[in-house]
Structures are given as C-alpha cells and as structure tokens.
C-alpha cells in the first residue's frame, strides 16, 4: 500500500533491510502476539479481571515505531498498552503480574491492564480516558525540545479518540510551538463497536490536522511503519508536529467483554488474518530469503515457553498489601490524614515510591 500524504512529500517506499533485522521484528511481534493470546486465556480463566484490551493484529505498528526510534524518545498511548511494556524493555512477567494485580507487576499491581508505565525507558502509559493522553504527549514533546534533546514524543491514539476535542487543542499547541510530537492514529477502523465512517465526518485521519502534515501508512507492514516513522522523526525534530495514520486492525474485540463480531463480519476478520497479518508477512519474506521453517518452529516454541513461564510465575505472585492503598497520593502529605472507611480511622499517607512496606 503506498503512502498517502497531506501537506508533505512522501518518504520513499523502497526499503532496505536484512535477515537479522527482519528476524528481530518477527521475534518481537510473535512475542507480542503470544502474550496477548495468553492474556486472553488468563482472562477467560478469571486470573485477570476487570478490563483488558488486546493488541493482537496491531503488532507491526508498535514494532515499526520502536525500530525507528530509541528508548530516549518517549511513547504515550491509550489503554491498549500491554505491548508497549515489552517493546520498551519490560519483561513479560511484569506485564502478566500487573494484569493479575500482583505486586510483582509493572505498576505493582495497583494500575492493572490500562495503566502500564516504564519511567526508565520513557513510556508514559497506559491511559484510561480516551484522548486524554494526546495533550500530555504535546507536553512531553515540549520538554524534549526545551531540554535540547534530539528526541520526539510518539503520541498514540485510536480512530475513536480522533474525534475528541482535546486532540485538536493539542495539535494547535504543537503546531504553534513547533513541538517534536508525532501523533500516531492507530486506525483499526472501529471505536469500540462503531465503524470509523459512522463516527467521523472525515475518516481520513492523516488529514485531520489541517495545517499539520500527515502520512497514512499500511500499519500491517512493519517495514513501511519503520520507514515512515524514521522519516517523521527527522521531520519532527527539524520542523514540528506531524500526524501519522496507521491503517491497522485488531483481531479481538475492543476489550475482553466485546466478542468483536457484532459489528463486523467474521469474514472480514479472517480476510485480515489471511491477507494482511503482520507476522505472516515478515515470516514469508524470511522464508523466501533462506530462513528454514525449522528455525521458526524452534523460535516459536522458545517464545511460547517464555510466555508460559511468565504466566505461571505471575500466577504464583502475591497481592499487594493493604497498606499500599494509602501510598503515594501526594509527595508532600503536609500532615494530612487520609481517612479510611471507618469513622476515626486515619492513615498517614506515605510518600514511598519504592513501596518498601
């Protein structure tokens, strides 16, 4: 699928790659895929409760992005955030434990599925309210610019969030101040159950920034994503904000409570799997270039085992102690007392970012 552009020249659609790079893409995407499938099974087995939004189908978007940027660039996204944890250097165990609400989790079991963060590697979450992360992304980009860092903020959101007012406020500010912000719309064509054409007057999300240039990319093609994001990063550092629309697809429903088949046909989902699956695409390229299928079998087994081990370890983890409920509301509690449910029951709120007790 060729790039579509708005107010900018398209990057070249000739890409150079090699077996080693493609293998690294395959490994990461396959890991993401198995991880999300494991999360699905754990949810159905009731080890994971609450809300769980799976990313399978969309792996190429994140993998391509990570390939084009560094861990010093920032990423912020919505609640469909499990895979960002591993792409930003976290372990599968931390993710699984967080989903199960265990203290070994990425955010100590206190955030859950929608609130995964990684401070060291500049992953700002993991945000529950649709679209709320977009102005935050603009702010993060400003900080990068102010500090003179050669870094961008990748602000990810979906086609549903694209209709939120705060997105346009953020775009205006980013444009006004030439912020190194890359606004990535992961267009999986459905805002929960609503098809894009029923929610958006213009579903050409890459043009919705008006004065801000945009590129539409085949989000199921990891090489296209990498190429476009590398181009966008160079643009953003030199000139200012840019919007990217990733044409992608999620195999699961919006969340685990959505079967995903009431608003789209199984034929559509299957067609995506057979014709545009991002992992199969890379696998085919590798097979055609000398990698043995036995190698894939070995790799798949290894990755599956890693995920299974992480799931078992997460299951064996422990629940955070009650005392953590009162921690880290404020850095400076100022003698405040956090009242408990019982009259006369007070807890001094503790600032304890290490959660020592």
């Amino acid at each position: 699928m060729p790039f579509k552009v708005h107010r900018i020249e398209a990057p070249s659609n000739i890409v150079e790659t090699n077996v080693s790079e493609l293998m690294s893409f395959y490994k990461l995407m396959y890991k993401m895929r198995r991880m999300e499938i494991a999360a699905d099974m754990m949810y159905k087995a009731k080890f994971i409760r609450g809300f769980c939004h799976l990313y399978d189908g969309q792996e190429a978007v994140l993998t391509g992005i990570e390939a084009a940027i560094t861990l010093q660039d920032s990423i912020i996204t919505s609640y469909r955030d499990h895979c960002q944890h591993v792409s930003r250097g976290g372990t599968v165990l931390e993710l699984m434990a967080e989903l199960m609400g265990k203290r070994e989790g990425a955010t100590r079991g206190l955030g859950g599925s929608m609130h995964i963060y990684n401070r060291k590697n500049n992953f700002y979450g993991g945000n529950g309210i649709v679209g709320a992360q977009i102005p935050l992304g603009a702010g993060i980009a400003l900080a990068h610019k102010y500090r003179g860092e050669p870094n961008v903020c990748i602000t990810m959101y979906g086609d549903g969030a694209a209709n939120q007012g705060q997105k346009y406020e953020a775009l205006n500010m980013a444009g006004l101040w030439n912020l190194p912000a890359i606004f990535v719309c992961e267009n999986n064509h459905y805002g929960m159950g609503t098809a894009e054409w029923r929610a958006a007057k213009s579903p050409n999300f890459y043009t919705r920034g008006d004065y801000i240039p945009g590129i539409k990319v085949d989000g199921m093609d990891v090489l296209a994503v990498k190429q476009a994001v590398a181009f966008a990063k160079a643009y953003a550092l030199a000139n200012g904000p840019i919007i990217m629309e990733m044409d992608t697809y999620r195999y699961h429903g919006h969340s685990m409570s959505d079967p995903g088949s009431t608003y789209r046909t199984r034929d559509e989902i299957n067609a995506m799997r057979t014709e545009r699956d991002p992992i199969e695409r890379v696998k085919k390229l590798l097979l055609a270039n000398g990698v043995e299928s036995a190698e894939f079998k070995r790799l798949d087994r290894e990755i599956k085992k890693e995920i299974d081990d992480a799931v078992e370890a997460a299951k064996a983890g422990s629940i955070p102690p009650d005392s953590w409920l009162w921690k880290n509301m404020y850095a400076a509690p100022l003698g405040a007392e956090m009242r408990g449910v019982l009259p006369g029951q007070y807890h001094a709120p503790a600032f304890d970012p290490e959660y020592k007790s």
Binding site: G128, P320, P343, G344
Partner: protein, 342 residues
Amino acid sequence: MAQADRSTPLAAEPLPGFKRLNLCNAVNDALTVALDTNDRAYVFGEDVSFGGVFRCTVGLLERFGKDRVFNTPLSEQGIVGFGIGLAAMGHTAVAEIQFADYIFPAFDQLVNEAAKYRYRSGGTFNCGGLTVRAPYGAVGHGGHYHSQSPEAVFTHVPGLKVVIPSSPAEAKGLLLSSIRAPDPVVFFEPKMMYRTAVEDVPEGDYEVPLGVARVVVEGGDVTLVGWGQQVLVLEQAAAQLRKADDISCEVIDLRTLAPWDFETVCASVSKTGRLVVAHEAPLTGGFGAEVAATVAERCFTVLESPPVRCCGVDTPFPLIMEPVYLPGVARVMDAVRGVVHF
C-alpha cells in the same frame, strides 16, 4: 414504590400490572415510555443505537427511528453541549455518558452552560429538557476509571439536579421524573445493579417524585442514610444489626441529592438521635459531609452522638483493593455500633 423489604424473596409471579425486570430493563422501559409520550424527545450517546454497552437502550432505535435514537462520536463535551442546545429549543434531550468516569470532559458544559442557563438569561431561556444519564459506582473490577462516584461535585452546582435510584422500580419512576423535570438533571445509574437487581416494576407510565426521600426500613435507634447501590448495603447491615446486636436501624434512601429531602432525614434523626451516612465516593467532600453538617445544625439538641460518615477512602478508586476501599456491610455495622455505644 420499591419492595418494602429486600430480604424477603420475590413472589413466584409478579402481581398483575407489574413486570419482573432488572435495573437495566427498567431504565429501558422508562426511556421507551418517555419517547412514546413525547415526540420531541431524543436519546443519544455513544453506542446507544445497538442497545448500549449495558443494553439499556435496546430496541429504542427500532421502535422510534434513527432521527430520535442515535449514536454520537466519542466526544463527551460535544454530547452534553449538543444536548443543552437541543433542550434550549424546548426539546427533551436524554444524553448518555457511557460511564460516569467519562463525564469530566463535559463538566464545563454542565456547570457553566446547563446549570446557569435559566438564571443568566433572566428566565427567558432554559435547558430543562436535558437529562444526562451515566452508570456510576463500583462493579467489582472496574478500577480507576470504571467505578467512580462523582455525584458530590454535581450537587455543588446550583442549577443542576442530581438523582440516583436504588432499585429497578425506583429507577424507572425516577428516570421518568428526571426526563420530565423542567430543570437539567444528572441521573446516575448504579451499574452493579443493572443485572443483579431484579424487582417487580409497575407497567406503564408512572413517576417517583424528585426531592423526596424514601424510608426503606423503619427503626428507632439510628438513622442510616444512603443512595444508589449503597442502600442495599445499608439494608443488609440493618438486618444483621437487628439480629446480632438488637439495634433497630431506620434506613433512608435519599433518591434525589440535589435538592435533597432534609426534612425526612431530620425527622428521622429527631426520632433516633443518631446518624450514619454511607457512600462509595471518597469521604472528604463527599455528599455525606453535606448531610452530616445539615443534621448537626438542625438536630443538634436531639443528637445522642456525632453524625458519622462511613465512606470510600480518600484515594483513587483502586483495582485489586476494591474490597478494602468500599464501605461494605461489615464497616457500616462497625460505624453503627460506634454511634450506638458512643
């Protein structure tokens, strides 16, 4: 209107003129009646067309057509602002916000536009036809953004009415009153009860008056005040306290928080001399504070112990620690014992 005593099981069959419904069906019934009796009434919000994420709007599109029942994009501020405009033209706009947690982008519209419309136009304009419905409250696994109880912040805005039903029959009657009220209403539906609360609901068109509290259980030793899903917790606590401690609790369901029926509550406290208010929302600045302060002021000389609030903790709504956070039956019972043995 609701069953007098939820501890007794339902009869085998509903009486004639009643239908056994859960809270979500009752809301659906109310919306159907509202749209049936007023052809300038509209129901809109995210995903309402196919029936809504909680199935409260099932069948409405088929019955009333897409000009009156329609989806909006994912834009809470836009939904409420649009509803205010529609209501300003004299139409009845029933806007759904998918979860009360998402109401905040619309907070400015509600506080600054809807609440003050009649007042700032010298009475010439109003958006009384606006009703904003939103599911609220703990649901077992909702976490930070699917469990909040934001009712207190709306009670603090003169010009808005805030209504919260505690059972299916209450929900249908209160929603019809809210939709037909000549003032903008924010209507919070206890989402935990959508499926789990089942009751015999009167068929047809009826209203439960706004601004009138309901004495759910009569008693003489202490007044328990709550709303929404907390009322059931209070009823259960009252039943257990009667058995275990021989304490007789009077349980009051406020139903409307703004304006609230302080007369019924004060009359009860004059009888019992003791007050416990309970709500899921965090303690500080919660609506319990308003109730406690009013009772302290008006009933000072008849109080046997200070008014007490048994509420959620002053933290964001936790995920895995929900049972620690909520003012459940055991905690309410402890609070009651505290005021009785003061």
